[in-house]
């Protein structure tokens, strides 16, 4: 994955909040519209859904009486070390593409929803079909030599798609906050931010949730030791201390054994 890893660089300062990316994604992936309600904000929809793989998060920031908007393209960030893949019990339901992204195969999803709990970014969604859905970074378009639908539609080149190493070098030259370079073995979606990650609603130090780590990396090996250890333990007891044989019934001694 290292050399040929592809990535997205999202330069948030270029975003004008037009939401072409949202529309293009829905169009390419044939995702139905969700009914939304006016909640007094331009941000719409207010959250990712099983029919919405990416959206623009509108952050309203007051700066000395002036209102300022920050725009963030919210989506699966395609972690190099992905919690969802770590926890998924069904091989192939979530898989890594040749370009290094995390795609999904709904037919192999068994609806356990563990990926929802394991994602540090709260991305995976389940719809009425009870199958996982999220941004798969247009693996079908990329496979056919096209750029992802959202990047193709973006009029300001906020969404840039290309080899990861090149994008990282470019981002560093911009001397802005680069988010996701090394976290979780490097994110497949890198952000250039104008402010602290928390302001954008991104975790400052994203990591796989501790309980998921304990389950998959501690409990699992301990479990194998515990299970086989118990079996070996009782068999060893059988051939060393031995079974507790009953005394002859006519000897009438009764005690002398344990209770």
């Amino acid at each position: 994955m290292a050399e040929s890893r592809m990535a997205f660089l999202i330069d948030t300062s270029r975003c004008i909040g037009c939401r072409s990316c949202q529309v293009a994604c829905k169009q390419w992936n044939k995702l139905d519209a969700d009914k939304t309600v006016n909640q007094g904000t331009y941000e719409n929809p207010r959250d990712l859904t099983s029919n919405l793989y990416n959206r623009i998060r509108f952050i309203e920031k007051t700066d000395g009486g002036n209102l300022k908007w920050l725009f963030l393209n919210e989506r699966c960030v395609h972690c190099g070390d992905a919690g969802c893949m770590k926890v998924c019990p069904s091989p192939g339901a979530l898989y890594r593409t040749r370009e290094g992204f995390v795609a999904f195969n709904a037919e192999k999803c068994i609806s356990c929803k563990y990926c929802v709990s394991a994602c540090p970014f709260g991305v995976p969604r389940y719809g009425a079909d009870e199958k996982v859905s999220k941004c798969h970074l247009c693996f079908d378009r990329i496979g056919a030599g096209m750029s992802p639908a959202c990047a193709k539609a973006c009029p300001t080149q906020t969404l840039q798609y290309g080899p990861r190493s090149g994008l990282v070098a470019k981002a560093k030259a911009a001397k802005k906050t680069l988010y996701g370079e090394a976290d979780l073995a490097g994110l497949g979606v890198l952000y250039l931010l104008d402010d602290k990650p928390e302001v954008y609603g991104l975790p400052a130090n994203p990591s796989i949730p501790t309980s998921i780590f304990l389950w998959k990396d501690v409990l699992k090996p301990l479990g194998l030791i515990g299970f086989w250890g118990s079996i070996v333990g009782v068999l060893t007891h059988y051939v060393t201390f031995g079974p507790r044989k009953l005394e002859e019934e006519n000897s009438e001694k009764g005690g002398g054994a344990h209770g």
Binding site: P89, I110, S117, W215, F227, V234, K245, L246, G254, H258
Partner: protein
Amino acid sequence: MGKYVERFNARERILHWFVMLSFFMLVFSGLGLYSRIFHGYFDLFGGGEAAIFIHKYMGVVFFVSSILLFLNHYKEMNSFDEDDRRWFRLLGGYLDRDPEHINSGKFNAGQKAYGLFMGIATILLGVTGFINWFPASFPIGIVRLSLLLHGTLFLIFIMFVIVHAYLTTIGNPGTLESMIYGNVRRIWAKTHHPKWYKEISGQ
């Protein structure tokens, strides 16, 4: 005087078989969820979705029967005396080829502890299982903890079960009959549970 005394009545035996069979169904349907390396066990049920379905409803069967069994034996486990302390001190005599006499009642101290653990673990596995069943209805932090706890309890549970299966079969010949026919030989009762034998036989 017959050769046998009754140890478990039909209700207790049937409850225990419910607990045992549903437990093994839960283990085999849940292994693939515990870790991807056990993915092959899903095939026993015709795939992961079917295994999850079985796991959920077997969980209900297990929960109900295990709780009933626990309540059934509660009054026999709900005591701890000097003989029980002695049992723990001597580890039940299991690490001694010629063990000292321990005057245990119907259940020895190890069995009481095991029964108590089973009761608590059943409740916790039931609660965490319910949360894992409906993850969208609970805060994500609770679901994360619940998944970890469910797996941890399963692991402790299965280790206890291995020891339990050993001690009640080849480890203590004559014990298994109590779960099949309900009766044990008098010599068995006198040897393993002298205080209980005295209570029921008056000798």
